[in-house]
Every structure is written in C-alpha cells, then in structure tokens.
Amino acid sequence: MPRAFLEVSPLFESHWTGIPVVAAGLVQCALADPGLDWGFLYENVVIDPLVVTDMLRLRRGSQFFPHLEQQLWNGDVLSPGQMAEAACIFTNLKALRRQFAREALVVHDISTLLTPEFHNTDTVRHHANRLRGDVASTDFFFCVSRATMMDLHSYFGVPLAAAAVIPVGMSVDPCMLTTLLIERAGMSCEPYVCVLGTVEPRKNGGIVLAFLRDNPNMLDKYRFVFIGRDGWNDEKRRMLDELDRLGLPTSRIVFTGFVPEETKMRLVLSSRFCIYPSFFEGYGIPIAEAAALGKYVVCSNSSSMTEVAPEMCFFFDPTDLLAFADAFFKAELAADLTWLDRLGFADIAARLEARDWRRAYDTIRSWVVEGTPA
C-alpha cells in the first residue's frame, strides 16, 4: 500500500476558517480511504490519527498542543529515511523542503504578496521570505481556484502542467442540517442580511456601511449581521468608528464575532440573502456555503470569487459603490421572487453532494498514487 503523509498543522488553529477548513476536508477523506497508508504530521512530528479524528469532530485543534508536545518528547518525529520513501502533501506552508520523495503544496492564495496593504507587516514578511523557497522545492501544486493557479503561474513562473485546481468542498453534518431546518420551520424572525467573512480590511466591510449611509431605509427593512471573527489591523474598531461617524443606528448592525459552525449555519439559513464584498480571495468558502444553503450572494467580482457559485451570485466591482447597490437590489428582488432561500433538506443535500470533498481528495490521491492528478 502506498505510504504518504499529510502535513496538517492548520488543524491546530483554535478557529477554523479558510485554510484549516480545506485541510480538514482533505483529512476527512484521507481517514476514510483504506487504499492509502496516510500518516499525519505537524511539520515533522507524527500526529496520532485518533487525535486528528478528534480535531475533526470538534472542528478546532488548539487544545491538542499537549499531544504534539508529548510526541516531541517521545522523539516521534519522521526520520530522513522515512521521508525519502514517501510523498507528502503540505496543506499550507512547507516546514520541510526536498525531504520527501515527492512534495505537493496546497496553495490557497498569495494575497499577502499581491495585496500586502490588507495584512500585518509580520505576515507579509513571513510569506515573502518563505514562498519562493516553498515553490522552488515543490513538485506539484494543488490550487483552490483557477485564479490562484494563474497567480502562481504569473508571479512564480510555475508551469501549468505542474498545477491543478482542486474543487473545494463542503462538509455539513446531515443531522445538524435536519435539526436546523426543523428549527427554522418552527420560528419566524425579522428579515436580516448576512455579511460573511472575518472582519479584516481585505473583506471590504466598509462598502456595506457606505451603502447604508446612502440607503438608510435598508436598515428599517433588514438587520445587517456581520458573521466572522475579529481579524487584524483593527478593522472592527475602524468600522465601529465609521458607524458612529455616520450616525447609523448601531442596534440594526450586529457583529457576531467568531461563531461555531452550527450557529453560523443557523444564521445563514434564516437570512434573506448574503453579502461577500471582499477585495481579494484565494477561493471564498463562505460564498459556496451560502449558495449551497440556497442563499443568493451579493458578491465581489474580483480574483477567485466568480468561480465559486456564479449561478447564485450577483457580482459587483468591490471598489464601486453604485455597482454594489445594483447587485444588492437584484439579490433582494431574486430572493423575493424565487423563494430559494427556503430550500428544504433534499435540495440542500443535493447541492452539498455536488460539493463533496471527495472530488478534491481524488485529484490529490491520483497524484500520490499515479503521479498525475485525476
């Protein structure tokens, strides 16, 4: 049976968004694959598959650092010999270079280099220093979108033959979905719109506030719920100051902070539609999640975002407030006309099935086993 490793350090994050979600989707499929002998790593430290399973169940990993520490004291790290005989998939940055027989890297985005103005200086420096070495030491690249693949090709000269797009998946517990749909059927709530994503400068939440400044009546019609953890560069503080400056009623605008998966799903399921105004994305998981639940998305037309769920999106230029307003009103109209936002279990399950993680996993598995992606 072929031996391969998945480097899963993103799973040790306390809040899973973006990169850890992708890593978790791939790990889930790897654990269920009896035909490949997968090992799991944090850098070069061997992680017990049972610990990985627990992380997937809890959807967070920071409490498993003691396991990592114990493994280190036990000396349970891969030897050069073990690495030389196996392939490894790095689910984010590479802690090891040219150690494995073959190395592949999952590339989420290079936004730290392409849009450094939206990131902390330390983060930009961290990626700027490392990415070139990571790229130079990698045999194959799995990109989460065509936009990311083309960025890699354009800025790092990676041949397109050495890269493939993996269809990013979704994983929703059917029991949880059933429960939430039953719950939704039995309650009514005032209309609201969800603005999705970590509260950080790249997500462009400011355009929503500018829209509300020009259309304050929308606050009578809907509450605006920003769902996402507080990010970097003090964006939340900046937005609250802007709200104050505009004199908008803060009781109609809600920041949830980080919410568990179930809460996020409950909020999206009962919303009228969603907004994703980001300036730049490597993929845009929240767009896929909202679309799968039957929500229209007022969505930025930049970078990868047009690839995710175009059939459910009303696109706009993220620098153009009038275009945003136009897309907003179209999404509102569509939601009123189609009632897609009340999709039932079977329809949602079918949409989720189409976004199963196995499609991405099979692409990677094929590269591990046969040397080329499926």
Binding site: E43, V45, R125
Partner: protein, 321 residues
Amino acid sequence: MLGLFEEIWVPCRYAAEVVGGYTDRPVRVVPSPILDAESHPRRKTTGAAPRQTGLAQLARIDWVPLAIFARLQGSFNSHGLARRRRLRDILPSDVPGRPAKIFLSVFNPHDGRKQILPMLQGFLEFARTEPEAVLLLKTTSPDDTNGTINQRLLERQVFSADTQALPLVSERVWITNAALTDAELDALYSLATFYLCTPYCEGQNLPVLEAMARGVVPVSPCHTAMADYLDDDNAIIIPHTLAEAPMPLQEVYRIWNSQTHLVSAADVVAALRAACRLGPAEIRAKAAAASARVGGQYGTAAFDQAITALLGGPSEAEAGA
C-alpha cells in the same frame, strides 16, 4: 589601518593568507597558547573512579534538555526547566572497557559562525540508533540562564527568515549555561570521549584545542583554523563543502556574496557513527595524538619565541652562544 603596525600576528595560517592579501606588512602565525597544553598530556582512563570524581565535581550544575519548538517556545522553555537534571542522572552507566558515547561541545550561542543547526539535527538522527549516546552543550552566554538558553539557540542558531524552524526536542542533548570553575570544566572534559563542532569558519577554535589538550577526540570539519591541527590521526573529520554563506551569516557579518564552509546533517551523522565504531585502542591513539599535537604546536614556546623576536631579544645564535 594594517599599515600602522610593524608586524601582524594572526592565530592560524588561513587568517595569515586572508590578512596577507590586504597588507604589505609581515603577517605571522602566532596562535594563542593553550596554557594547559603541557599539563594535560593525557588524563583519560577508563573505569569508574575518574568518572565518579568528574560527576562529583559537577554535582551542583543543572542541565536542561534541548527544547526548541518555535510555535510554543515559551512553554518549551518551561518544559526544559521542569526537566532539568544533574549529570549523574543523565549519563548512561559506565561499562568497563567500552568507550562512553559522550560528546561535548562548548560555544557561545550568540556566535553566528558556529553552525549549530546541522550539529543538532545530525546528532538527533544519530541518536535514534545509538541509545547510549549523549551530547552535552556547554554554552557561554552572559545574557542567558538555563531557562532562556533554548530560546537563545532558536533565535541565534536555528531561526532563519526563509525557512520554517523545525522542532528540536530531545532528552539526549543536554545544555548548561552555568559558569564553570576551571576544576568543573576539567571535570566536564574528563567525562567526554569526543568533542563535536561544526563551525562555518574559525580563527583558532580554542575550545576544541582545549578539549584535545585533555585527550578528548575531536569530531570536526577540517578547514580554516582547524586545518592547522586536525587530521585523520587525531580526529574524526566531518566533510564540508564551500558554498554561498547562508543569508543570516551574510547579514550579521556583512559578508555579502561570500562563500563559507557548510556541513550537512547527514555528514554529521556519518562522522558520529564513525566515532562510535572506534575501539578503545583507536580512541586512545587518537586522543594521544590530539594531546601531543596541542602540546607541541600550541604550548607557550611558540608564543615566547614570537615575543622575544619582536622585542629584539637574543637571536638563536646568540642564545646558543
């Protein structure tokens, strides 16, 4: 500035070559004398008695295990302290007639020339198959304690901006940053069979000479200063390659686009294995050769001669008359 001097003294032939290229003044090799060179012709004997003496002399010294893990370095500093031990609890039992696989290195963690990373990586890999091997690191950092020394090693020897620092954690590598008396340092050398170092370059490398003077067999690359005194008769030589200096070294020493002597972890492993294949007689022969080389080449005689010549003392002919 070099033109201001009558004569320029440097500690090794390599330095003479380099400095000589920048001045027309006479450049003379005058190494720092190893003052103990004559008094330590050979101290090492096998058996429990000298080992017990050495352990007793070091009884007050705490050692912490190697505990470098960049992501959680704060807590690994604490883990290291919580696991601190004394040498008598660290070193494997002595087996009469079998050389102890105890390696020693002495260095300043602030010194970027020491190239400690391949030494640590190589030793950890080697230790997988040598359950009795122990590496003792005596660090000399005035800024540190045993509670901060792992952090210092991470920052000054392991971290590099362009790569991820991998964890280096082991209870087979022990560090002390304690100040040792002369007697304690003697005791430490008496416990070690081999002295391990992997520097990029050296002007003289006093610690390895001090170890050799005490009959500890060097495991070291043979370049720059070491090329003056190491050979296959008195050392295990680690291969090296001449290549562009790593960027942190270029930055610290402002030696842009310079080459230096790189050692790989794999070569360190091979050298350590070669050391462990040596029988007691071979070790004794190398140790005697090492000690003799230091005694002959780095005693006070060469230094006295240079001073005498400089101060216009009697020539050899006059002295003879």
